[in-house]
Amino acid sequence: MASKMAITLNVNGTEHEIRVEPRKTLSDALRGECGLTGTNVGCEHGVCGACTVLMDGAPVRSCLMFAVQAQGRELRTVEGLAASSKDGGKLHALQQAFIDNHALQCGFCTSGFLMLAAGTLEQQPDIDDESLREVLSSNLCRCTGYQNILRAVRQVRDAGQGGAR
């Protein structure tokens, strides 16, 4: 076993001081060492996008990165979307739109889609329908047929609530 490295991951504004092997993926470190299991792992080869998180505001596949590469970066995961429970726990507009539009069934891909959409709308609040479809086609969902996911994200975009709770 390779020796472990001490690193600090900044996730949702909290610093996690953890020890990981250099080969540990970011997704496994988030799930295991940081206890943030909302980031799901679907393929570990960067296609399905279930593990999408935001790094310095941009969507990335956390299964395709090593945890040590994320040191010093600002990470955001699905656990950071809603307000904390002590602040009332209000859902992010995207989370509420996913519920309202039945944009999830089994929920396994949902965290990845939420983070992909959140990062996209923050960077391009006025993204057009065709570009939005193109961006959202980078993640896989096996339950919904995508129609309601697209509808939910468009609704949040149209309300200008891309970064809002």
């Binding site: 799930r31 299991t37 995961t77 929920g107 396994f108 891909c109």
Partner: protein, 791 residues
Amino acid sequence: MSDHGPSSLKHGERHNGDVNPRRKFVGQRVTRLEDPPLVTGRGTYVGNLNFPHQLHMRVVRSTYANAIIRSIDTSAALAHPGCRGVWTGADVADIPPITFRPTSIQGLEPYRQYILARDRVRYVGEPIAVVFADDPYVAEDIADLVTMDGEALPVILSADTAPGEFAPGLSTEALVLRKNFGDIESALSSAFKVVEVDVQVGRHSGVPMENRGALARIDHSRDVLECYGQGKRPHAHRDAVATLIGRSPASMHFYEGHIGGGFGVRGEIYPEDVLTCLAAQRFDRPVKWVEDRRENLLACNHSREQRHVVRGAFDKDGRLLGIDAKLWHDQGAYVRTHGARVPDMAMGTLIGAYHVPSYRTVGYVRMTNKTPAATYRSPGRFESTYACERLMDAAAEQFGLSRIEIRRRNLIPKEAYPYARAMEILDHAVELDSGDFAGLLEKTLVDIRWDELQAQVAARRAKGELVGVGMGFFMEKGGLGPVDGAKVTVDTKGKVQVITGASSIGQGVETVMAQIAADALGVEYRDVKVIHGRTDVLEYGIGSHASRATVMTGGATRMAALNVRRKALEFASRHLVEAPVEMLDIVDGQVVRIDRPGEPGIPIGKVAAALAPSPATVEFGNPGLTAEGWFETAGMTHPYGIHTALVKVDPDTGETKVERFHVAYDIGCAINPMLVEGQIVGGVAQGLGGALFEEFVYDERGEPLSVTFADYLMPTANEMPPVDVLLTEDAPSPNNALGMKGAGEAGITGVGAAIAAAIDDAIGIPNAITRLPVTPQRLKALLKQRGAVPA
């Protein structure tokens, strides 16, 4: 096609003698109770669960497609410092092969799979050893050190070539199934025309987003082996796994948590599930197993691979006199839990929605050196609907009739229901409970504006575009019985708990059960919590499969809730309100007097509190505001529908672009149209995958080539057309009080048929499509071969 939605549904007009016909939540598009934890990252998928001091199991898989095992070398693995154990077949020689479900079909026993290969491997991916370590990365390192020396044998990769030997003296033809009724020979000899098609469906499968996994441990305080991560049929599989590893069922329990998609493949009993439970027992430590995607594509059930040769005997008017069918079913390397259910259903459902006076079908169930096959959403029906609809399209062409007219002439008329067929499916006599297919066809043509659509297509064709429309008519089955139970309890705060034997695999079963219970009882649906997938809180349950949860578990939930309601009203009448029970009702969680509207009621939480154990409540009957309910049904339900696809073919690339898709579906009764639509649109996406993109491909040595999501192509948002859904409730099932028929498979069953027909239409070559998926390579080759594009 219009934007017609299910909002057109009319509810509450049919009472069926219901004692409580109220419909406040049933039929409404209420949002799901399941969603809040799932959108906030609080899911309890098995990969998210851990127990202290757990071991991680990793499976070593065969790299041979067919070989005799000479030896398996575990010495390097055992020498690894982190290794806590290595097992090969010899270490689990006491464990019998994995059982299949009870069936009257004989002869499949020799084809079952052991949890670890013994003297022989039969597919790439077959488990040959398992290793255990404290860390999952280390377990993978150790697994890489196990090597197998094998004597390679010739491989069999198709079911429609000559059978070989599965084992010495045992044919790879495991079974020949037959079904027939009527006089097919005279139908064939007296026919005006006999139309034949020879069509194939490619090997593909459910492929949920969550890989399989299991976590098992023994709780010594109860002497119970707990297994987390199972879904689908918790009770039956608990019994089966307990038996395999030598425990009594009462000393083992399943807990399903969240499941990342079911689709028929998730939650079956696989070697890995049994190994995880066995290891927890032998090591007396918690054991966790989570596969990776490559393993999932190699080892989770495949499905669908069949060839159908179907001959239809028609009279001079294009009416069917009989159908004579042959089926070659590629079962893969072993018979798994479903036995022969898939070919059985394919054969039983092939004649679909049509009045067929005589029918003969033979199914050759053959073993190959590929991953074992079993059920995937709409098992057997996706395949048989495609085959039958290819026949109807061919007949239309040969009779010079429109594709709609040939079907109109053959649909079972409304007045013929209930419509019995003198054969069985899954050991059940076939009786189609209710239907008005011709009525649905007319509504479909209006909803998709058929004439306008035809005109648009003609205009685009005139401009040189290869566009076309195709339809797939299908008869589904759901609500598989015979019995399911549920238990409903009201607590002292007025919150309701429904304990069911269903499984939640993402389909929304909690919400649907809550809606049914809320209306039956008279409470708010958000006050209903639904428990599922646990064997420790309900003695019996039949899980979620075959579009049955809403019908069966919903029926039981409703009965239990009505029993609780009656109990609350009778107790209140006797002890809390001076009024006869007929004068009482429960509205919005309050027991109220019907004759005094506006007067404050008694919250049912108070009724529950008053029913706490006491001499008075024992005297009343039994304490507690709780009751069980059982629902039984003799027959299956038979929802039906029509899929319509509009496609455009690019002759240069061979790409098929699906521009629109329409599903018309008579569901009997939609508890939550939003969730039904969700099931249907999701099913369409999977169907399009199987029709156009998804295929498990093998090379000539039996090496699987589709082992990543870069090779096994599932539809993304880019490939999905807009899907319009027309839900109707014109033929409620007479088999349950609400008329429910089931929703899980409606979106997928007719997709292969509709897409094949649409591509034929687009390229202007009748019956050109004989094989799914219609990949760009295949379509381009076909166009070249038919001279439709320059070679």
